[in-house]
Symmetry: C3
Subunit: 454 residues, 3 copies
């Protein structure tokens, strides 16, 4: 089921600029502030798997990067699924026996169970209680709950507030619509010299939750922004879609694109204080897996490399056995592992500018390797070529053979049998990727090497 790997040479891609030309700049110091401001702008929007909140979010993204928005009508098939009716919320509140609005979505988006069906009526607290959700362990926080697949309704509130509700009859208003409409996703496609693609995916369905996943939206947006003006080998495709059904819909609409995806990352939970986590693709040994492990190791930051498991974020879909795409997941704290996860405490204080900036920097470093990593083929495979007469080698022999670039050239030439990537050579040799890449560029310039599509 894996997309077949094209082995056509990418002749056009023998680096012709100066060595290291396609290396990306690091995240600029202070770039965390506009990302955090962007999270702040997006925080109040009432996102769900469909509806205006998603559209407004995509419009905000489109002010930073070129974005194509696709609307897929309710009822459209998406593999085993069907695009659901679109959800619209006008108002949603509960009035206590005294007529006071004690719970109101106007105060916090999490108060209404996401995708609640319309309801109006009165009922005693005892009856209402089964539709009220709280967190006894975290009595100040409002939980986040969804109810996509059953027409029903409910409210979330803090446990303290729940405890304080007086007995009596409550008036409930859930003025929502579940009706024919569409599911919305956005794509930012940045064409490269190659039609091979790098996929970056962030979900856009969580209302007023900051780390999960405004942080992912912001970092993905600013990553795309950093790639807009550079010379790209790969075509980059940023997907901003609702989780699960949104990504399933995207995959069903873009199935023909998937064989071109060479590397991919789901980005989520990248703004909190937690140590980094990289979850490998289902393949476990994809280039992107090696690259992220390398960048995190080189960073010296605390981190964990985790095997693939079939739950978490949208890598679940990209790595389903029928696609099995080389897509990993890049996070700080992982899905469900921190107390604030899926509660009102996942707010703009949990996400810090410096954490967003560090995450962006690691992704830029990773993309910088993605762009430059490749398999090389020596055009002079029998014996070492004479580096001296090409000006590639110190002309006087002696003790100075330890120089790194010269060693790197020997490594690259010896491994250039079309089987090893430059990053594999870097890891095996212990020489930094940048030096290995510069060596490959220098050798390619003299016609000793050609590169192949990885």
């Amino acid at each position: 089921m894996n997309p077949t790997t094209s082995t056509a040479r990418r002749e056009d891609d023998v680096p012709t600029g100066k060595a290291g030309a396609t290396s990306l700049p690091a995240a600029s110091p202070g770039s965390g502030l506009p990302m955090h401001a962007f999270c702040t702008e997006l925080y109040p929007l009432l996102r769900s798997i469909t509806g205006q909140g998603v559209r407004d979010t995509l419009s905000a993204i489109a002010r930073h990067i070129p974005l194509t928005v696709t609307e897929v009508p309710s009822g459209s098939p998406a593999f085993d699924w069907t695009v659901p009716p679109e959800w619209t919320v006008r108002e949603a509140w509960i009035k206590d026996p005294s007529g006071r609005k004690v719970v109101d979505i106007a105060r916090h988006n999490l108060h209404l169970v996401n995708y609640s069906a319309p309801f109006k009526g009165r009922m005693p607290l005892a009856e209402l209680r089964s539709r009220l959700f709280s967190l006894p362990d975290r009595p100040d926080w409002i939980p986040y709950r969804t109810q996509y697949f059953k027409e029903d309704w409910g409210f979330c509130l803090s446990h303290n507030q729940l405890q304080s509700l007086p007995d009596g009859d409550y008036e409930v208003c859930v003025d929502t619509t579940l009706a024919a409409g569409s599911l919305t996703f956005g794509e930012c496609v940045l064409p490269g010299r190659s039609t091979d693609e790098v996929l970056i995916s962030a979900h856009v369905c969580h209302p007023s939750l900051a780390n999960d996943n405004l942080s992912g939206i912001a970092v993905a947006t600013f990553l795309a922004k950093a790639l807009v003006d550079i010379d790209r080998h790969y075509t980059y495709r940023f997907v901003f879609a609702p989780s699960t059904i949104g990504v399933i819909t995207w995959l069903s609409q873009r199935e023909s694109v998937t064989p071109q995806i060479r590397h991919g990352l789901v980005i989520s939970g990248v703004g909190d204080l937690g140590a980094y986590n990289y979850k490998r693709s289902r393949r476990g040994d994809a280039d992107i897996d090696r690259i992220l492990a390398y960048v995190l190791k080189q960073s010296g930051l605390q981190h964990t490399i985790n095997p693939f498991i079939p739950y978490g974020y949208d890598e679940r879909q990209y790595c389903s056995p029928g696609f099995n795409l080389p897509v990993g997941c890049f996070s700080r704290s992982t899905y469900g592992s921190y107390p604030e996860y899926h509660t009102s405490a996942d707010n703009l204080d949990l996400v810090r500018p410096e954490h967003l900036e560090q995450s962006l920097d690691l992704l830029l470093k990773s993309i910088s390797i993605v762009e430059r990593d490749r398999k090389m083929l020596s055009l002079n495979p029998k014996c070492e070529p004479q580096l001296g007469r090409r000006g590639l080698y110190s002309l006087v022999g002696g003790h100075n053979e330890g120089q790194k670039l010269q060693l790197a050239m020997l490594w690259v030439l010896n491994k250039a049998d079309g089987l090893n990537t430059l990053l594999e050579v870097a890891i095996e040799s212990g020489i930094g990727f940048d030096v290995i890449y510069d060596a490959a560029v220098a050798l390619a310039h003299t016609g000793l090497l050609t590169s192949e599509v990885a």
Copy 2:
């Protein structure tokens, strides 16, 4: 030389009963007692590689399970070997100078070197001594010796007795026959829905030795008994044959059956106090190897998993390179590793009912996995299927995704590419096999999965 693996679907085998229906019951408490009683019944029989002792043993087994007995005439070829003449013993004794019978097979079967040729005569002790075998380190025990391939004779006795023999002339009577007859083996074949077979093999050639191998005979018999009345996927073939020449003869007579053997175990030495030992098949990574390692690990009992070595029991023959069958060896104390091995001290006290029962229980657990383990193929491999609308998934999202069966379903679906067995999924996921199996059954019922012959 490995049998080719059929990849035909076993459509008929999508479990149609309730989840876990083919799981076997545990060994019932107290079941060690009838097994020990069976050992006691078999203990006095004078077994050898041919002859009446084997026939009487098979008759006793046939009182518990359906058994087909095959007689292969002396002189029949069996690969590199020839079925030997049949051995019959009428009497065998030594009289001391005073005419007293000091050694007599009527007192202990081990006194006569097994397969001794007939002899009658008188000789001084000095001459007789070269034909008397004892254990100086264990002066009370009688050793067990055989002499299959040379027409000769000898006696075994305790070292204390040997020391006490007075000088003088001794009368020797070995009233045996080595004559045309046959080699006898028994088979209990329990047909399953599939013609693929599970082989269970125990040797039946040791006279008056309890752990090696009345324990194996008893546990194999009671294992067969437990399988008689259940609904079986596999066809089970229990082989009760003399060691080495008996199993070689069986293989030569049943060579056409061997390609159907999917899993197999040699059972021996399963009644003593020792920790468990599982010896892998020559392949080293057969399903049966994974299953036994898993069951022993889950048991929490002390055990060792050993690599294949080309000596030990009849796995030597099943795992010869021309067959290379997926057959391992299940034991407590191993071949030659305990002092009582091949001596009169390997008696009915060394073997305890509770040890037999525990061994049977581990084998039932193993067969229970053999029956249910399989490779699965998702019929909906692109993206996750919608479990909710099939009633397979909690209908309300939120924090309760940790439920085991749901995780198990996600694991099974993600791994259902026809390459992984359910046990491999259990091991990788850390979820118990039973839960993984139940998840697969639930998914198969809804048409999301099909199973293939492993």
Copy 3:
């Protein structure tokens, strides 16, 4: 690019002599002395990558073993290289302002930068200084420098001497020629029953340096000497060539031979006190890699097994990706790792007879395994054959099954599926190679096994 492996049976090679007949004798005690004497004889010769010093060295080798000398004319192409002009030195000295010869190649070959172009003239010390090389850290030693690829000249001297030179005008005489001539290499080919080859390579271009690489020349020469009179399975090819350009030239002249090279070793730096180092071939898992690791382990001597890296000695060329030959490198102290390396302190005191002798002994042990290691195929693969009736097995059963040769026979028979080498069986079984080999010989004699070309 790997040479294809012939799988033709070597019927002619079923050992027909007594077991272990082709095992080589150990290095005879005292054999280090003639090797050290040979180093002493070769030490004064002014070797370089071309010229009379190489020819004189090859003549000296030819007094010990049959040697074919090849001259390749200057200007001949050798893959990416061209055979350089031949270098001839008549005299080379520096006179100080008082007219005294302060530096003179007649005193030490290292004084002249190797391959210096002709020059005559006078210049002040300040100008001369840029052409004078010394080792400030080792003020008594003369460094070794070369300048093959630029027509220039220079001198090497001790730092103490450099410091003591008075100011003033110096007269310089470099009376050399760089002119059409040839590059010279020698080969000792010892034909075996098979045309498959074992390559042993030592470089011959270093002037007055003892460990690097008179030790290699001496040990390779005496190794060849030990093989001259034995019955050989393989054809042995000893190559004595200048490093880099010499071996590249050899490969270009003998490219058609390379597919026959089954095993190979570069020998260098084998006379000093350092612990042994074996550097694996680029393949990493070649038979020769396994053999050297085994011999060093069995020796009990301190040693390190290193992965392949693309710098060091001439394994660089043999293991370039277009050849990728199974050639490792056998050394004591490695390339560049000891202070005396490439200085006048790498002299006849650094190299000791006992170290040379031990190196030769390890190589003889390795070749002894190379000659006997092979993949075996059982001609009786179904069940164990009856060893007893062939006189291969103890005729009385019982406790004596632990005998090593018998176990070795069972291992060899079980593994004789044409996939495993005898050394792999030795390592897996923990039984010594010699016993495993003897078992294989015994089994082959009875027609139970045949051997295949490894």
